[in-house]
């Protein structure tokens, strides 16, 4: 009966706690780490997936991110870097190492899975759209790492400039400025592709000029 009353905290209680409280609990409570895991697994997976380009490596690296986080959570103290930012920094470092180890910044086509999220168009426009999409993704992958990271955090994770600043260790103003330069660089890259005779680039730029979106 004593055991009945002195039970462990309920999982639903953990869902109401803030990240920082969970981090403190997670230092000696696996359930608390499990709750943090549930909160961030999809975000981290998305981030890694877009940076690696395939599900297999995304799964391996995502697992490494959480293993590393669990191993070092005892030493983690907030000090201006929220848990979310800390986790993304681990992911960023592991992805950077992955690229370095493989010696590849080469362009990797993303799995077909991404295509399912796009709006369905008429059949005759689907092929054009697919080419444009691949062109844009390829152009993104040619950007410097920090700019790719910014686009992923903004468009995939829907983070605010302040949150992105915490992850990338920059001010909100610096992130706005970097975002502006990133868009300009992306547009310039597409222009270069057009000049190189890439048909999809020409089509995409025409759409951008016509504001077709």
């Amino acid at each position: 009966m004593k055991r009945l009353w002195n039970r462990k905290p309920k999982p639903q209680d953990l869902t109401k706690l803030a990240d920082q409280e969970l981090v403190e609990l997670a230092k000696d409570n696996q359930d608390a780490f499990g709750e943090l895991y549930e909160r961030y697994i999809t975000k981290i997976y998305n981030y890694v997936y877009y940076r690696t380009g395939n599900h297999q490596d995304a799964e391996d690296l995502t697992a490494l991110v959480f293993y590393r986080a669990m191993a070092h959570i005892e030493n983690y103290t907030e000090r201006g870097v929220p848990f979310q930012a800390w986790l993304y920094r681990i992911a960023h470092n592991l992805v950077a190492n992955w690229h370095r180890d493989r010696g590849r910044r080469k362009i990797i086509p993303l799995d077909e899975f991404v295509a399912h999220g796009l709006q369905a168009d008429a059949p005759d426009t689907q092929a054009e759209d697919k080419e444009e999409r691949e062109l844009l993704l390829t152009a993104i992958r040619r950007l410097p790492e920090e700019r790719q990271q910014l686009l992923m955090l903004k468009f995939i994770e829907h983070l605010s400039n302040a949150e992105i600043g915490e992850i990338m260790d920059r001010t909100e103003g610096a992130i706005k400025s970097l975002y502006h330069r990133t868009l300009m660089a992306l547009r310039d890259d597409l222009l270069m592709q057009q000049q190189a005779g890439h048909k999809s680039a020409e089509l995409l730029l025409r759409r951008l000029e016509n504001k077709e979106g």
Partner: protein
């Protein structure tokens, strides 16, 4: 002509505001947002269209459920919860009610069985006496 010369800061603010609006699925107000800033349209239009395109192309993906479940199990060492551990996480009142219901149910079943046995014994005894 000064109104045509946009500062980079104004353009940065505009792009950030437009992106926030689009990501919040509030795309209808984009023109109103653009009009709030002193930036010529020709500087903005292609960049806003590029933002729209990025919004369409960069969509979220879901990790497989199997991967998520397996990794959580590996990290926290929790096997799938059995009935006893599920009951342990229920509120105390529910646990007590479940316990009482279990005991009463057991007693009712036992009583019914005992009565049935007693009745059968009684029926078997009658022909022996005749």
């Amino acid at each position: 002509m000064s109104h045509l010369q946009s500062s980079d800061t104004e353009l940065e603010k505009l792009l950030a505001a437009v992106t926030d609006a689009l990501l919040a699925d509030d795309g209808g107000d984009v023109d109103a947002i653009i009009n709030r800033y002193a930036v010529p349209r020709f500087e903005v239009d292609s960049l806003v269209a590029l933002i729209r395109r990025l919004h369409l192309v960069l969509v979220g993906v879901q990790p497989s459920r199997r991967f998520v479940r397996r990794l959580k199990h590996d990290l926290t060492g929790h096997a799938r919860r059995d009935v006893i551990s599920r009951v342990r996480y229920l509120p105390p009142r529910v646990q007590i009610a479940a316990g009482v219901a279990f005991v009463i149910g057991f007693m009712l079943l036992s009583r019914r069985r005992l009565l049935a046995d007693a009745l059968r014994d009684k029926q078997q005894e009658v022909p022996a006496l005749q």
